[in-house]
């Protein structure tokens, strides 16, 4: 009996692997006990179930995405600090090679798929319906399914570290290293299944928001009157629906290789590992535009609002968004210029990649000229936006350098590359998501965040960023490769790595300031009673903060691009307020437990596949089938919100 227990503990719980696992176990147990105890003590179980787990309200789903993204930011950040600690000096033995490999894999996967993606989905959900004058997204039920698939995909992935072992072949998961012959544990299966499940959710989100933006705009909101954040969401979602299927296929085929022994990407038997690498980047490169386009949208909103000026070159901004979305499909091979494809292929992809610099450059100039002859208020969203521009200029420059194929032969897989993409993904995406979070925070929660703590966070994080990543460009020229768990003293890489690690810790401290800022602001709340704390321009600011669950009592008619700003300028904001006699009954989507249960079923099925426990997998699949059948047989998915109730709510908000 004790032998069997020990076997289980060593094989699945990995207690023989040392203190990192034990600490994680203890933290997970403590956190779980804490959550359960708090929910029970405050009698919040019902509230959790009714208001959150079964909700189909886009605003609440957005908030859950945001919470998940911040948690994953923390997890991915801890991973990063472990990596940087290991690399702080040559010959360090803080982590073993195996743990280092697992941690850089989870760091990359989590930051891209379980931090950046939910962060932008949070903003899509919270902002887009309010910006275009809609009561919800086109398919609220599907929206909830998307969230729970993401959530359970992320859960599966995060579980791997303490149950069975994490994937350890990099977030790119190249075969044949990821084939059974080289990587037999469950770790790689965790990656394949976790990413696959959340990827299905992402595709559904892409479809949902395209439909929402194309079909649910308020009367008068022509495409060329849409706010730029909505445009960027549309561009990003178009990229999602064309790119994610490639990933789904690549992961599915590799999963088949691993669980039933096919040879799509194996070394022998006619398998072709390069095919996976092509498919992966056919998704992978568009993926970076998927995450950065919405950030561009945020910057456009923020710059216009905080300079009190119309966005400069609106049509040019729209054109460049769409152009980036299109070019993004023609650049994937720049991730493997060194594969030995011919000079013709490399030249094509090199020039195509450089061309991305044209529309992105145009955007930067348009932001600059929006500020030009404006009045710049350095609030938190604006600070993160201003911090983004130098990052994007430098990262863009190194991006062009990387696109020049002969140069890339020297930078490829070196720390130069690492510095470049962190500058784009942190400086471009994280800055944008945080700017968006600060900007729309009052719209989500009805209060603003403390500026003083936020400024500390901004400066510490950004200074930390440069201290962390500028040395890494230099390390690339010194020949340091990525993914080495340690390096010898005589290479002379020690001092720059040490500096870089200091920077990483500063970024960690910056993040803690954000956490402190949120907790502090919860206690010392500065309520937003106006609904428009920033003196902003677009439709969502005409609503109270937070918006009532039906959003608009009466769907407004849109006459201008910056409709709220124009209304304020010309003193006819009352046009955007509801009139009692116009308020009618509203059909609202019903809450449903099924999206949650469907996600849970995917989790169970996925878990079964990961460990080849097919009974469990079958139970999960049966759960999925049951949820789908139940949905198909459902008659009443909406309820009527009576006009009187809306009138009462609007009266209590002082709007009628």
């Amino acid at each position: 009996m004790s032998e069997a227990l020990k076997h289980f503990a060593d094989t699945y719980l990995m207690w023989n692997e040392g203190y990192l696992i034990w600490i994680s176990d203890i933290l997970i147990v403590l956190a779980s006990i804490g959550i359960v105890a708090a929910l029970t003590y405050f009698k919040k179980w019902k509230w959790l179930w009714r208001n959150w787990l079964t909700t189909v309200d886009h605003k609440k789903i957005g908030i859950m995405y945001l919470l998940a993204a911040l948690l994953m930011f923390f997890r991915g950040g801890v991973d990063a600090l472990l990596l940087r600690t290991q690399l702080a000096q040559p010959g360090e033995h803080f982590l073993s090679a195996e743990h280092y490999d697992q941690i850089f894999t989870t760091h990359g996967t989590i930051m891209i798929l379980f931090m950046a993606m939910p962060f932008l989905f949070a903003l899509f959900n919270i902002v887009v319906p309010l910006q275009i004058g809609a009561r919800d997204v086109a398919f609220p039920y599907l929206n909830a399914i998307s969230f729970w698939l993401f959530f359970f995909g992320a859960m599966i992935f995060n579980l791997s570290f303490v149950f069975g072992g994490s994937p350890d072949a990099g977030w790119t998961s190249y075969p044949p290293l990821t084939e059974l012959g080289f990587d037999s544990g469950p770790g790689e299966n965790y990656y394949l299944i976790g990413v696959q499940i959340s990827g299905i959710g992402s595709m559904a989100t892409g479809i949902n928001f395209i439909a929402t933006i194309l079909k649910l705009r308020a009367p008068g909101m022509k495409l060329m009157r849409m706010p730029l954040f909505t445009w960027s969401t549309l561009a990003s979602c178009i990229v999602i629906i064309f790119a994610f299927p490639a990933l789904a296929i690549a992961l599915a085929l590799l999963t088949l290789d691993r669980i039933i022994g096919t040879d799509f990407f194996t070394m022998y038997h006619g398998g072709d590992p390069m095919m996976f690498i092509n498919l992966f980047w056919v998704w992978g490169h568009p993926e970076v535009y998927i995450v950065v386009l919405p950030a561009f949208g945020v910057y456009s909103e923020v710059v216009a609002t905080f300079t009190r000026k119309r966005i400069f070159g609106y049509s040019s901004m729209v054109a460049s968004l769409m152009l980036i979305a299109v070019i993004s499909y023609f650049v994937w091979a720049h991730h493997f210029f060194t594969m030995g494809a011919g000079a013709d292929v490399n030249t094509f992809f090199a020039v195509a990649s450089m061309m991305v610099g044209i529309p992105t450059g145009v955007k930067v100039f348009n932001w600059l000229f929006t500020m030009f002859r404006g009045r710049i208020r350095t609030t938190l969203p604006m600070l993160w936006t201003l911090g983004f521009i130098p990052n994007f200029a430098i990262g863009g420059a190194t991006g062009i350098m990387l696109a020049a194929a002969p140069g890339d032969y020297q930078y490829h897989n070196s720390y130069f590359l690492i510095a470049h993409f962190h500058q784009m993904l942190i400086g471009g995406v994280v800055n944008g998501m945080l700017a968006g979070m600060y900007y729309w925070w009052p719209k989500m929660f009805g209060f603003t965040l403390n500026e003083r703590l936020g400024k500390w966070a901004f400066w510490i994080f950004n200074i930390g960023f440069y201290i962390c990543f500028m040395p890494q460009y230099a390390l690339g020229f010194e020949g340091m490769q990525r993914r080495m768990y340690t390096y010898p003293t005589d290479m002379g890489w020690g001092s720059l790595n040490f500096v870089s690690t200091i920077g990483a810790y500063l970024m960690g401290i910056g993040f803690l300031f954000i956490v402190w800022q949120v907790l502090y602001s919860l206690r010392h709340m500065e309520k937003d009673t106006t609904g428009d704390p920033w003196d902003a321009r677009t439709l969502e600011w005409s609503l109270p903060s937070p918006a009532p669950h039906y959003n608009f009592a009466v769907i407004p008619t849109i006459s201008d691009r910056d409709v709220w700003w124009e209304a304020k300028e010309h003193h006819h904001t009352s046009d955007l307020l509801p009139k009692v006699d116009q308020i009618e009954d509203v059909h609202m989507p019903k809450n449903s437990a099924r999206p949650f249960l469907l996600g849970l079923s995917f989790f169970v099925a996925g878990f079964g596949v990961i460990f080849n426990w097919y009974v469990l997998a079958f139970v999960g699949l049966a759960g999925i089938a049951a949820c789908l059948i139940a949905r198909a047989l459902e008659d009443e998915e909406e309820y009527v919100l009576p006009a009187e109730e809306i009138v009462a709510t609007e009266q209590s908000l002082g709007r009628v």
Binding site: H269, R308, G357, I389, Y409, H412, S414, P471, Y487
Partner: protein
């Protein structure tokens, strides 16, 4: 007041970082910036030109940003112009669509030229030396088909002679990189790729696998010793005379995942490289390597395989 302190601190830390980067730099350990051969030099030119051309855009952008933020900050007594409705200018738009297009046009043409040039031997007159490179878990095997010797984790090459590296892998994909001599190329199982390099100056150069291959990856370093052709020939002779042969059994042993030090072999099993590439029907990337087609057809004939082009 507080902001002033902040600015000073950030300035100090940025200057300090810059100083560390620069002072620890500019030495010979910046391999990429101090190439020891014509391939690395060509690549350095691309690196420098692309840096200069992009600086043409980003320096004005950064200066403009600083000036605009200062000039148009929201202060009560700021006298700068404020034009909240001004949002279109065809002329400005043409300027900033146009300039990047011109810059990228120039850089694109130059990039294409060098990319094509790098597929050719760096020197047309000298007779090249061929080295077969096989990446294994977690070591490098180098075979000299002309000299019939083999080494592990180090290789000697003559200076002034273009080296034709033919690359494959008998393990997960890796990448063969000697930053002082030039850029890298993947080593892929079931395929062969080619990389031209050449050393002009004698010296010992650092090399390392650049594509992650699992837990022993950090140990996959090797060194390249460039010496005069006479010294190289003397070394070949001494290896033939003194080292042990690499047998088929020995290769099987070597292929197993492990890390080893430098090894030297006086011979290797004939066709070892080709057999590795063609094991269970590998394929050459024919399209990409016109100058390799002779090797490909010989390989096909040798193995009685004709059907394996994709």
């Amino acid at each position: 007041m507080k902001q002033g302190v902040w600015r000073r601190w950030s300035a100090i830390s940025i200057v300090a970082t810059g100083a560390i980067v620069l002072t620890s730099g500019c030495g010979s350990k910046y391999f990429v910036l101090h190439p020891a051969g014509p391939v690395g030099e060509k690549e350095l030119h691309v690196i420098l030109w692309s840096a200069v051309l992009t600086l043409l855009v980003i320096v004005p952008v950064l200066m403009l940003l600083a000036w605009i933020v200062w000039r148009y900050r929201d202060r009560p007594n700021n006298k700068a112009k404020y034009t909240p409705e001004w949002s279109e200018s065809r002329l400005l738009e043409i300027v900033w669509w146009g300039i990047p297009i011109v810059i990228i046009g120039i850089l694109g043409v130059y990039t294409g030229k060098v990319t094509f040039a790098l597929t050719q031997p760096p020197e047309k007159d000298a007779k090249p030396l061929t080295v077969y490179v096989t990446s294994l878990d977690w070591k490098w095997l180098f075979q000299y088909p002309g000299q019939k010797i083999a080494t592990v984790n180090y290789l000697n090459i003559p200076t002034g002679v273009p080296i034709n590296f033919e690359l494959t892998s008998d393990a997960p994909m890796n990448s063969f990189w000697v930053p002082s001599l030039g850029g890298q190329e993947y080593t892929m199982p079931g395929m062969a790729t080619r990389l031209w390099l050449e050393a002009d100056k004698p010296g010992t150069y650092y090399g390392h696998g650049a594509n992650f291959t699992g837990s022993g990856f950090a140990d996959m370093s090797f060194h390249v010793k460039a010496e005069s052709p006479a010294q190289f020939n003397a070394w070949v002779k001494s290896v033939r005379a003194s080292a042990h042969p690499l047998t088929t059994a020995g290769y099987k042993q070597l292929r197993k995942p492990s890390t080893v030090g430098d090894l030297t072999f006086s011979s290797f099993p004939p066709n070892l490289f080709n057999n590795t590439v063609w094991a269970e029907g590998g394929r050459y990337m024919q399209n990409s390597m016109p100058s390799m087609s002779s090797t490909v057809s010989t390989l096909g004939k040798n193995r009685g395989l004709t059907n394996h082009s994709n």
